[in-house]
Structure formats: structure tokens, C-alpha cells
């Protein structure tokens, strides 16, 4: 068990959050089937620092991004990501992976 700092609420027990997988890049334009498959199904699964989505489900309901070392669960930082609204990709396109079974 470890603590996660919600950008709104500060450090809280990880039990309050829902983990939603590593941050992936949603293709800015229509992808080929291979690119689509890659984006929807493949993950880097790094042993090291990973950027990932968290949801403060039993708290304030904020979606944010954390940088966590997957080997030690050390959370290096948490932040509200820059939105990427249009079709033109922002420098860091904060895109989302497919959800697990809902």
C-alpha cells in the first residue's frame, strides 16, 4: 500500500483511487489497423518510471496523471495533464488506453 498525492486533495491512501493504466498516445489522425491495434491493445509495461492515469474515485472524482516507479511504487509526481482538445496534437498528447471490461 502506498500514498498517492491527488492534485486536489493531497496525499491519500491508494485504496481511494482507481488505476487506469499507462498513458498512451491516441493517434491524431486515422491510424492504420496496425497502429490502431497497437494503441488499443499494446502497452509498454515498463519496469521503471511510468506515466499513468489515476481516478480519485472515492474522493473528489479527479482524473490525473502520476509518474510512478513500477518496481518500488514510489510516486515521483502527480499532475493534472494539459488537455489536448482539437485534432491537431498538442506537444504532449495525453491520450487514453482502452478501458478494461466495463
Amino acid at each position: 500500500m502506498f500514498l498517492l498525492a491527488c492534485p486536489h486533495c493531497g496525499p491519500r491512501s491508494v485504496d481511494e483511487f482507481k488505476y487506469q493504466g499507462e498513458v498512451t498516445r491516441r493517434p491524431p489522425e486515422r491510424p492504420t489497423l496496425r497502429e490502431l491495434t497497437d494503441y488499443v491493445y499494446f502497452r509498454d509495461n515498463v519496469a521503471g518510471v511510468q506515466r499513468e492515469w489515476w481516478y480519485h474515485g472515492t474522493g473528489c472524482g479527479l482524473w490525473f496523471v502520476a509518474e510512478r516507479d513500477t518496481r518500488t511504487n514510489e510516486v515521483l509526481r502527480t499532475e493534472i495533464p494539459e488537455p489536448s482538445r482539437g485534432r491537431t496534437p498538442a506537444p504532449v498528447e495525453a491520450a487514453v488506453p482502452d478501458t478494461p471490461a466495463v
Partner: protein, 859 residues
């Protein structure tokens, strides 16, 4: 056969307890275990071994080995040596055909020996293939230990409790108690967990005993088995004081009844004041084994021979027995008569929990043991578990028996012999992990306590390497056997009740679970309820629907990008059906979206989908950064669906609003007052008849319901609703769709607006369009009722499956939905559906079974 009180006696002879063992009454005293009481009553055979059905007696008396496992009060595999005596307990032997003394299955040992080497059935029982059912029946009968349930099965309640401790001490031996006392003296909140219950409570720290720590998981999570309760401990500091485990020696006859480990003998003689035997011999690599001689002499047992393996190096060593019982020890040709043999192969730190927590395990060649090192933060080891043990010689991996050729057991749990391990090696299973999987050594009830080191030592000798190179197997939870019931204990999940719950209960509804919700299955007569909706008026509680408000300047754009169809052009006061998909194209959820204003939408979801849809909306909103507020109002509102030909007339009687077909059209959303309650009225029709969904504050739900029922609306439950929606071929997401279903295969291409610039799932649909779909969801009619999940077959092979099927009175046939190959997705196509082994014809239909044009909905 009790002797005079011994110095360390732990029994209270004034307090007798009587229990039943295989029909006989046995008496023990307080402080006795069932095992010690049986031993005192002269019983020596406590079990039959797993494979060969060899008689086995007490070995460790410490709860480590499998030798005394019996069924107590219907609970199988109870270790009698640590199970306290209690009045009225019913104790039965297990894994025997006949009795422990005469087990008919022991024929395996006498005849089967040459035919049952390791891996025998992997290789032999695969052919001829048609005999497999016979093999399987046999194997299922002999596999496993003990029986669960049955006539003398037990019903118990198990609970799970979450607890915290500043310091959790595992093990109540000297080192554990000392660590607990020290931490308590520093003002820490300490909990000590002890397997045996020998620690007295009431001190400066809490004692849980008898209780077993099952493992150490990430983040200091320690599940503790306390019988009926599983404690999930989170501890800041974990002190492991699990001690050391006495190791056996490997020599022919080392499993005979009468061969014991030092502590077992010590406990019998000194704690329970029982004479362990008449004539004893000792073979030991350390002082621990030799010191038992003193206990034995006090108990009146003659110590006939002591072999100190540090001084003597016998070439041949064997135990010889009659009928499975020890009769003499033979050392280099010299025989000593004895009925008790104490063997000591040194003590191995019980490091498993430490290894699970992340510690490394290192071999100490001087002492021949594995010692834990590099403990992770927050975990400590004290006492013998940390390797604080006296000097010992490293025993030989095994002893040759010379002329005495009995079996040398490495693992008494699984009956794995030295020969089996050598054979596994010869067949190429030369790493410890492979040899373990092939022979099942260390995989029995003792979980390697008595065989782990022996098997590594043997492998090292045979492969001419050393123990460090062989390494250990991965330590995994559970460290102690645990009842499955305990792991399945109650977790107190919340049940959700709708605001109308008690109206349903009062009306005699049969309640059922749908996800976390409790909903009426029906009110006693599903068919009559279906008829009421078709012919007159019905009302159903749909408060379980997810209800989400989406509001803000960017609300239209957010919904445009979340749904495959258009919502920006939806006029205020109008409703549209929507399906959510993922970027992989999978159907996630469906519902209706009503536009209540320029910047305000009211979204409904499936009953189980409200939370996940809300999260989904918020997630994409965070990604794109739209100016939108998303509020889940599911619990704040009650909702009912009033449906049937009389729906308009009934509604008109309760409101001043104009509900004529021109003023309140199909797919209109209107705020109206019904029976004095402010409602959001949605004219939609899941069940296919003229209908209105009325959403109102939860607190007013019962009032609205009562008003509708007073007008003659017949309450209908989920089952009639399922029949009605099936007549309309309306899908239920999750019932008719699965993780492979997409908009094209589910027959909803009309909902996809590919001209939109972007929406979640668009690319998947585009690719599907190019590649074609593998399956299609279609309706079918037939004359027998197939179970849901029934197979659609062609030429005897499955090509699809039924997801929903019901008898429809209105259609006059069985109707249903099924997944079929795309070539069968044609109006009138013939398919076969297998019901009870026979194939029945069915006809595909692509339009709703009832009112295909939706005229009733619009009327």
C-alpha cells in the same frame, strides 16, 4: 500410557476431555492435543501416505508434516498434533479404504511399486484414449486428501476483517515474544500471531492464537488465518519470528512409524508426559538431536544407540520395520532393536514469509542451511528464522542402506523418493523448479518444510554442483494450508435498493440481484404481467437506470465525440438512443440522451453502467479539457416506466400538461407535473408499447408509484420486461453483447455517423467496414426453448450461440437473439440450434418480432 509428571508438563490432569476416534472413546487432558491423546492411548498409526498408502505415525508434533492429518468434525486435513482436545469431537481417519491398521489401498505399496514411478500417469494413462474415462474416475478417486462436504460436511460462517498494527510479530517463540515485549515497551501497538496458542494473552501486547500468517504481500499486507476470521493486517513493521524447522535425514525406511524428529519426541515426553517408546536410537547432526536423550531417559525410554554424525560417518544407514513399524536401526551392518528413532538433519530457518516479502535467500555451506538476507524495509527477522542457530554438521544428501533396500523418502507428503528425484534428473528435469513440478516434491501439505532442503541437497549431489548453484524454489503464499471457506469469507458488499424497494416487497415480488441492485423478478405471474402491458397498462421500477447530467458550453461537443451518432443537432426537448463504444470498437453501454437545454443533457445508462459511464465521460473530459460538468444523479432520482395502450389516458388523469400525441410526441422529453410531483417525462419505449418514463426526486417515488397503481397500472418485474423487450429485439448490453461485439456485428450500422470528424470508436468501425465482421447478432424464431448459451450448429459443429430466448405468447413462438456467421444474417435464413443434444430448426429474422415498424410507440 502416561508417566509421572515431567518438568515441562503442560497438561492439567484434573480436566479430562473425551472425544470419539473411529468409534472409540478417547480421553485426554487440558493441554493435550488430539494427537497426543491418541498417542497416550497407544495409537501409533495416524495416517496412510498419499500415494503408496504406507502407514505413517507422528513425526514432527509441531504442525509441520502431513503425518497426522485426519478429519475432525467434518473438516478434512486437520493436523491432530496441534489440534487441542475438546469434548465430543468426532475424529476420523482419511485416505484409507478400511482402517488405518488395514488399508486395502496399501496394495499400491506392495505391488504397484515398480509400476508407479514418478510421472507414471503422465506417460501411461494417455493411451488408449478411449480408456481415459476409466482412468479419470480412478485418478479422481485416489487424488487429493480428505473429502469436503458430504453427509458429515460442515457449514460455517467465515468473516474478513481489516486491521492495522504498528508492529506485527509473527511467531510466539522466545525471540518473537522478546521482540513483541521490546516494541510494546517503546509504546508501540503490537500484535503477536502464534500458530500454536502456547503464548498467554493479557500482557502489554495483543496475542492472536492459534492463528497463522499466510503470507506477506506488497505493502505489508499480512493475511492471518484465525479459524473463522481472516484478518487482513496492514503493519508498519513486520517482525518474522517463525523459528526453524527440524529437517529429516534421507535413508531407507526413514518414513517408518516410530521414526521421529527431535522436537516431536521432546513434546511427547516432556510436555504431555507420555513414554514415547521402549527402546530408542538417535541419529543426529547437531546437539538438538542429541539433547533428546535426556528427555527420553527421564521418561523411562532406553536409549540404545546414539549416532552423532559429526563424529561418525557411517557408510550404510537404514531403518528396518515390520508392517510399516520400526523394529531396528542398522548402522554399517550393526543392528540395534528399537521402536523409536530420533533423526535430526539440522534446523532450517523458516524463511518463506521473508522470501515472499522480497528478501534474498543465501546458502550457508558451513551449516548446510539457507539463510535470509537483504530484508526489505519494514520487515525484520529475529531468532532462528534469521539464522541464529547453533553449529551443525552438513548431513549427507542421502544414506545408502547397504543390504537394506527400503524406500528413502525425500518428501513424505507426496511420497517422492530419492529414486524418483534421480529419475526426474535422468529425464532432463535438472533444475529445482522443473524437478519440483515433475515430481511434486515440496508441493504437498508441508509446502517444503521437510523436503525443500533435502531435495536441493540431493540435486546438488547428483548434478555435481553445490546447493547455492541449485538455488531455492520461489516461496509463494499461502505459507500454511487454509480453508477455502476462509478465503471466500463475507466481504460486506453493499446492496443497492431503489426508492420503491419496499413497495415491491409489500406487493410480494420475488426479489433478485442484478449487479449490486435488488430488483423484482416478477410479482408472481410473469405471463399475466406481460399481458397487462400489451393489453392495458403496466408500470415498472426503472430507478436503477444510470442518470447523468452533462452540462456546460462544450456539452454538445463532448457528446458528439463520445457517441457514434449526432447530439449537437438534437433539438432541446428531444431524445436520441446512443451506444458508447471504446476506441477498440467494443460496445460498452447504451441508453437514451435527452437534450434539456442548449447546454444541458440528461443521459441514462444501463443499470450496472452508471458509475463506469460517468468515469468514462469524466476521463475523456479530462483528456480533452472541455468546459463541461458531469454529475451522476442516479441515486437522487426514482424512475418508473408506464407502458401499455392505456398509458396516455392514465397519465392525462394525473397531470394538467397536454400529453396528446401532438404535444408529447414519441422521443419527446418534457418537464411535467404528475400527481403533484415534478417529473421529467421521457416518451420512449423499451418494452414496445406506448410508454412514458417518469423521473422524479427519490423521496417522491413512492407517492408517484402509488398514484399510478391506483389508476390500475399493473406492476411488472424484470422477467416480463425481458420478454417484452425481446419481442422488440432490443438488446441488453452485456447479455446479448460481449467484449467482441461492435456496432456493425450487433446490427446497428445506422447509428454510426462516419461523416463526423472524430468520435471514440470511429476508426475501429472504419476498419471493420473494410474487413467485414465475423459474426452477426440476429433474431430467430423456433418451436423449442433453448437455454441461453445454447449453440447454433452447422454440420454438427458450433457456429454461433444463443444470448436470449423466451416464449412469446404474443408472437406465438419461441423468440430469441443469437450470434451467427455473417452468411446466415439474412431474413428467413435457416439455422439449427442444439437443445438437449438434438438439433432444432430455427428461422432468422432481422426485424423486431412485434410491431416491426414501431407504430405502437408512435401512436
Amino acid at each position: 500410557m502416561r508417566i509421572a509428571p515431567q518438568p515441562g508438563e503442560r497438561i492439567d490432569r484434573r480436566k479430562p476431555f473425551t472425544f470419539e476416534y473411529d468409534g472409540a472413546k478417547i480421553t485426554g487432558f487440558e493441554g493435550d492435543t488430539i494427537g497426543s491423546a491418541l498417542y497416550a492411548a497407544g495409537r501409533r498409526v495416524f495416517s496412510r501416505s498419499f500415494k503408496y498408502h504406507r502407514p505413517r505415525g507422528l513425526l514432527c508434533c509441531s504442525g509441520d508434516c502431513p503425518n497426522c492429518m485426519m478429519t475432525v468434525d467434518g473438516v478434512p486435513n486437520v493436523r491432530l498434533c496441534v489440534e487441542p482436545v475438546r469434548d465430543g469431537a468426532v475424529v476420523r481417519a482419511q485416505n484409507v479404504l478400511g482402517s488405518l491398521e488395514r488399508d486395502l489401498l496399501s496394495v499400491v505399496d506392495r505391488l504397484g511399486g515398480p509400476f508407479t514411478p514418478v510421472g507414471f500417469y503422465y506417460r501411461t494413462m494417455i493411451r488408449p484414449r478411449r480408456l481415459w474415462p476409466v482412468y479419470e474416475r480412478f485418478l479422481r478417486n485416489v487424488a487429493g486428501l480428505g473429502r469436503v462436504g458430504g453427509a458429515d460436511g460442515h457449514a460455517r460462517r467465515y468473516d474478513t476483517e481489516h486491521r492495522r498494527a504498528e508492529v506485527l510479530v509473527i511467531g510466539g517463540g522466545g525471540a518473537g515474544r522478546q521482540a513483541a515485549a521490546a516494541a510494546a515497551a517503546e509504546g508501540r501497538q503490537v500484535v503477536l500471531v502464534d500458530e500454536r496458542g502456547g503464548v498467554t494473552a493479557g500482557g502489554p501486547y495483543e496475542v492472536l492464537a492459534p492463528a497463522r500468517a499466510l503470507g506477506i504481500y506488497e505493502g505489508g499486507l499480512v493475511p492471518v488465518d484465525a479459524g473463522d476470521v481472516l484478518y487482513r493486517f496492514r503493519a508498519e513493521r513486520i517482525v518474522v519470528a517463525t523459528g526453524a524447522i527440524e529437517q529429516p535425514l534421507v535413508f531407507p525406511g526413514n518414513d517408518l512409524v516410530g521414526v521421529m524428529l527431535p522436537n516431536g519426541v521432546r513434546r511427547l515426553a516432556s510436555e504431555w508426559s507420555i513414554k514415547p517408546g521402549e527402546h530408542a536410537a538417535i541419529v543426529s547432526v547437531d546437539d538438538n538431536g542429541l539433547e533428546v536423550a535426556e528427555d527420553l531417559r527421564r521418561a523411562g525410554t532406553e536409549v540404545a544407540r546414539v549416532v552423532d554424525l559429526r563424529a561418525e560417518r557411517p557408510v550404510h544407514l537404514a531403518a528396518v520395520g515390520r508392517r510399516g513399524r520400526l523394529s531396528r536401526l542398522v548402522v554399517d551392518g550393526e543392528a540395534v532393536d528399537c521402536d523409536l528413532l530420533v533423526m535430526s538433519g539440522g534446523r532450517q530457518p523458516a524463511y518463506s514469509l521473508l522470501a515472499q516479502s522480497g528478501a534474498r535467500v543465501e546458502y550457508d555451506p558451513q551449516r548446510g542451511i539457507f539463510v535470509p538476507t537483504d530484508l526489505p524495509p519494514g520487515v525484520e527477522a529475529v531468532g532462528s528464522a534469521a539464522g541464529e542457530l547453533g553449529p551443525a554438521a552438513v548431513p549427507a544428501a542421502s544414506f545408502d542402506g547397504g543390504r537394506n533396500r527400503g524406500r528413502s523418502f525425500v518428501c513424505v507428503c507426496e511420497d517422492v523418493t530419492e529414486k524418483d528425484l534421480k529419475r526426474a534428473l535422468a529425464e532432463g528435469f535438472d533444475s529445482i523448479e522443473l524437478a519440483k513440478r515433475y515430481t511434486t516434491v515440496t508441493m504437498g501439505p508441508c509446502q517444503g518444510r521437510l523436503c525443500h532442503v533435502s531435495s536441493i541437497r540431493l540435486l546438488a549431489r547428483e548434478t555435481e554442483t553445490d546447493e547455492a548453484a541449485i538455488g531455492t524454489t520461489t516461496a509463494r503464499p499461502p505459507w500454511s494450508p487454509v480453508e477455502l471457506g476462509l478465503l471466500a469469507g463475507r466481504h460486506y458488499e453493499a446492496a443497492k435498493r431503489t426508492p420503491l424497494h419496499f413497495r415491491h416487497v409489500e406487493a410480494g415480488a420475488t426479489m433478485m440481484w442484478t449487479g449490486q441492485w435488488r430488483r423484482p423478478f416478477d410479482y408472481g405471474d410473469s405471463e399475466a404481467e406481460v399481458r397487462a402491458v400489451h393489453e392495458s397498462l403496466g408500470v415498472i421500477d426503472v430507478s436503477t437506470l444510470g442518470k447523468i447530467l452533462v452540462e456546460g458550453p462544450d456539452a454538445p461537443e463532448l457528446l458528439e465525440r463520445l457517441y457514434p451518432n449526432r447530439f449537437a443537432d438534437l433539438a432541446a426537448g428531444r431524445i436520441r438512443y446512443g451506444v458508447l463504444t471504446t476506441d477498440g470498437g467494443r460496445i460498452m453501454d447504451d441508453g437514451t440522451i435527452a437534450r434539456l437545454g442548449d447546454e444541458l443533457y440528461y443521459v441514462t445508462t444501463t443499470s450496472t453502467g452508471s458509475e463506469s459511464v460517468c468515469e468514462w465521460f469524466e476521463w475523456w473530459n479530462a483528456v480533452w479539457g472541455y468546459d463541461v460538468e458531469i454529475v451522476n444523479v442516479t441515486g437522487a432520482l426514482a424512475a418508473v416506466n408506464l407502458a401499455g395502450p392505456r398509458a396516455r389516458e392514465a397519465l392525462a388523469g394525473l397531470t394538467d400538461a397536454d400529453v396528446s400525441n401532438d404535444a408529447f410526441r414519441y422521443l419527446d422529453a418534457k418537464e411535467i407535473s404528475v400527481a403533484g410531483i415534478p417529473c421529467l417525462g421521457l416518451r420512449i419505449g423499451f418494452v414496445g408499447e406506448l410508454g412514458y418514463e417518469l423521473h422524479c426526486p427519490a423521496s417522491a417515488g413512492e407517492h408517484l408509484w402509488d398514484a399510478l397503481v391506483a389508476l390500475g397500472a399493473v406492476p411488472f418485474g424484470l422477467e416480463p420486461q425481458r420478454v417484452l423487450r425481446l419481442e422488440k429485439a432490443h438488446i441488453i448490453v452485456g447479455q446479448d453483447t460481449d467484449s467482441e461485439s461492435n456496432l456493425l456485428s450487433a446490427g446497428m450500422p445506422w447509428i454510426v455517423k462516419l461523416e463526423k470528424e472524430d468520435f471514440v470508436g470511429k476508426w475501429a468501425v472504419e476498419h471493420l467496414q473494410e474487413r467485414g465482421v465475423r459474426e452477426r447478432l440476429v433474431g430467430f424464431t423456433m418451436d423449442v426453448l433453448p437455454p441461453e448459451g445454447a449453440q447454433v450448429v452447422r454440420d454438427g459443429r458450433p457456429v454461433g450461440r444463443v444470448t436470449s430466448a423466451r416464449v412469446s405468447e404474443r408472437v406465438g413462438r419461441v423468440i430469441g437473439l443469437a450470434w451467427v456467421g455473417p452468411d446466415r444474417a439474412e431474413e428467413g435464413a435457416a439455422i439449427s440450434i442444439r437443445v438437449d443434444g438434438a438439433d432444432h430448426p430455427a428461422t432468422v429474422t432481422l426485424t423486431p418480432f412485434y410491431d416491426p415498424q414501431g407504430e405502437l410507440l408512435r401512436s
